[in-house]
Point group: C2
Chain length 334, copies 2
Amino acid sequence: MSKVTINDIAKNANVSKTTVSHYLNGRYKAMSIETKERISSAIEVMDYSPNVVAKSLKNKKTMTIGIIVANILHSFSTQIIRSIEDYAHEEKYHVIVCNSDNDPVKEKNYIQMLLAKQVDGMVVIPTWNNDALFSRLAEDKYPAVFIDRFIETVKIPSFMLDNTVAIKTAFVHLMDKGHREIGFVSQPAAEIPPRKERQDEYKALCVQHGVEKFIVAGELKAIERNLDQAVKKDKLPESLIVANDLALFEVLKAVKAHDLKIPRDLSVISIDDVDFAEFFNPAITVVAQPSFKIGTEAAHTLFGIINGEEYEIETHRFKPELIERESVTDYGNE
Amino acid sequence: MSKVTINDIAKNANVSKTTVSHYLNGRYKAMSIETKERISSAIEVMDYSPNVVAKSLKNKKTMTIGIIVANILHSFSTQIIRSIEDYAHEEKYHVIVCNSDNDPVKEKNYIQMLLAKQVDGMVVIPTWNNDALFSRLAEDKYPAVFIDRFIETVKIPSFMLDNTVAIKTAFVHLMDKGHREIGFVSQPAAEIPPRKERQDEYKALCVQHGVEKFIVAGELKAIERNLDQAVKKDKLPESLIVANDLALFEVLKAVKAHDLKIPRDLSVISIDDVDFAEFFNPAITVVAQPSFKIGTEAAHTLFGIINGEEYEIETHRFKPELIERESVTDYGNE
DNA sequence: TTGTAAGCGTTATCAC
DNA sequence: GTGATAACGCTTACAA
């Protein structure tokens, strides 16, 4: 493979490698048509293609960026990656994909390796405990953007759903349909901003509207268990706001296990549109986040930074969209 | 970022860069404890980390591999990528992810760019028309493996589902349950081996068992349209074998649109387990393919090749697994 | 035990 | 218009 270098081309075409390099980089302007052709045919014949690693060393530009997500298996991450890869492809960049598994240690390791590989920029769904590292990146003006989460103290622009509005949209929709028992299901809020924001807004809304709080928050298994308990004790509320797709899976499993009927026995509204929402029985009403838009804007900003444009360090909030389907009963507005 | 080089460390520690290099590469054996400490503290203080690009240029090893899938949004591809990234991470490798969109031109471009970037190996779900390129890779003994598809004439090992067995499993299951009208839904078989294999086996089975063929094959939109027609003309068979997840989505949409009841009005068995199969109403009976196993074995072989091990150029076939759920009526075995 | 120097495949500066 | 030559940051004989 590609053992042929610019030197071989130079020899074969009877010119210096400088000239070949000029040719390769489109500095034709003042090159005799003859040499041009000798070079081009040498390249053709010897099947030469430039070594990008050498080029990168010289140019200090690798034409690749890193993406660190929690887990590529989550559809949100997949969509983010796809939108960013598309943008990168346009810019003739490649993307290195990493799974942090929400593990700060793994994340840190990835960041350091990516930097060592001299990637020109990074987009990351950050975990926690790496604030210092991120801050150093920010100080060094290293091109980086966050997605889905932000870190209070770190000066890196962030692109994420307006979680407050998302929960409010769901809550208000339920209220509009006459619901007064509204529960909330989520993975542990802990250190993860979007989860925390969603849960906090739910609580605030409960207080504001005099709705009794019913929160199931825990790891997937715990959700399943708690839901199970609630059903058995007949303590399940009329309706549930489900904080994301994974939590929704658990809810739907519990519903099936107990042979509940949505929306008769339970109304469900989920944050995150899932691929089956539309043809599920019943179709799931959802507050969707614009993943592709988020990814694309993040990429846009990142490449802006890479190309030396000015940018604001701010948190960009994206508006969710309510998609009404069949999983919420209409009790009539009282 | 990382503007500090091995030279700076050498100066700061009052040694030559050779010594630093030795230190970095763990050639401690015969190094005075003193120098060792001077170096280590210099590294600490100056926050040095080696430039992998320079290292790659010298070593002819980039510690990164490329993955080309049709579209990362398909869950099979996502799972393959995840399993390969895991394996790569173990080996201290990174992965560059590319979407070919089943476009041979895009694919070719990616392959060439990846090679130019000197990636140490590639795993690809190949399209078509690039046989010559792949053959050159094979001849050059460039480390590469195929997934999900193979190319007849190309000497690159391939890892894929045993499609024949998968279809037979589905077909026989249906027969066992007393079905005699068995249809088949797929995207266009065209140039894509797994699709073709599945469809061919279906046809063969029809002949063998005297079952009348009913095939809906086309792009997603066409599937929807044709299904629609069939329902309206009351020509839908008792049961449908659905060739993959995307086709399944269309079937499920049609079912919902026409308010059909599975499995009363129609039995469905799908190739590919989908995340919602378990808690769908009804739960979907499925012939699952072991994506993670496929990905992991492919990675295993790829890294074997990279590490210079001998390998067979063969097509590795993986056995599917029938997961019986609720979407197939039992008419009783006649 | 440590240092000198050449080389990996490019690009860039500056001559000619 | 074209070509030496140094440089990018690292590794590795080979020397000392």
